[in-house]
């Protein structure tokens, strides 16, 4: 599977989609079944090891999914090599920062 073939990106897009889809489904079901009434209940839910790990995994895979999708959009519509490279680099940096921010939020929640 060559890096340039796009096959790896295609496959990763599907795998991350399945995880993200399952997470969204379960998160919605959980929030509907037991809506957190106050901050303590909400924090307790997020800080629960299973939820915490599932959420951290979701954020990483969702960002990967979003990166592949946005990369496809950029490759489709941005024809100039320089603009394309700049756009891809910008998105990569922003996504990296979003990931670190999310991780920070989750670590804060676990320590609170």
């Amino acid at each position: 599977m060559s890096v340039l073939s796009g096959q790896r990106a295609w496959l990763l897009q599907r795998i991350t989609a399945v995880y993200a889809g399952l997470y969204v489904f379960l998160a919605v079901a959980l929030l509907l079944a037991r809506p957190p009434a106050d901050h303590a209940a909400w924090l307790g839910l997020i800080a629960h090891p299973v939820v915490w790990l599932a959420t951290a995994t979701f954020i990483v895979l969702m960002l990967l999914h979003a990166w592949i999708g946005l990369r496809d959009v950029i490759l489709d519509y941005v024809r100039s090599f320089v603009v394309r490279l700049t756009a891809l680099a910008t998105v990569a940096i922003v996504f990296l920062m979003l990931g670190l921010w999310a991780l920070w939020i989750l670590i804060e929640a676990a320590l609170r």
């Binding site: 599907r14 399945v18 901050h39 924090l43 979003a66 999708g69 946005l70 999310a102």
Partner: protein, 125 residues
């Protein structure tokens, strides 16, 4: 050798979009808009976890009329992307490959996204 000048037809007022093409381009648009929403969602998530005041602030923002409107729109983005995404995975597995089958699954995904968004929104109200 192939001609360098290839036909380009991009008159958006004349391009007809069958429903499967419509859900497909909407899948892309909702995906990009969901990405745009990430900073706001992360910020709300952070505020809601920060403390009781932050939690009340986040809930208050979501319950504000403008917040409710944005929430409905955002739920549609998520639910459309979710159901059309499932449709794409099924299509790749060979489900609904006929002309009628493709249209039926496209309509189902489109309607499911709208209905699910409204249902979730009403349950939040």
């Amino acid at each position: 050798m192939a001609s360098q000048v290839r036909p380009v037809f991009l008159d958006l007022t004349k391009i007809r979009l069958p429903v499967n093409a419509l859900v497909s381009i909407l899948h892309r648009i909702t995906g990009v808009l969901l990405i745009v929403s990430i900073p706001l969602v992360f910020w709300l998530f952070q505020r809601s976890l920060a403390g009781p005041e932050g939690f009340e602030q986040a809930v208050g923002l979501l319950r504000h009329p403008l917040g409710l409107l944005l929430l409905l729109g955002w739920l549609w983005l998520l639910m459309h992307h979710f159901f059309v995404g499932i449709r794409f995975l099924l299509v790749e597995l060979g489900v609904g490959e006929t002309r009628k089958g493709g249209r039926d699954t496209a309509w189902s995904a489109l309607i499911a996204g709208i209905v699910a968004a409204i249902l979730l929104w009403v349950m939040f109200l």
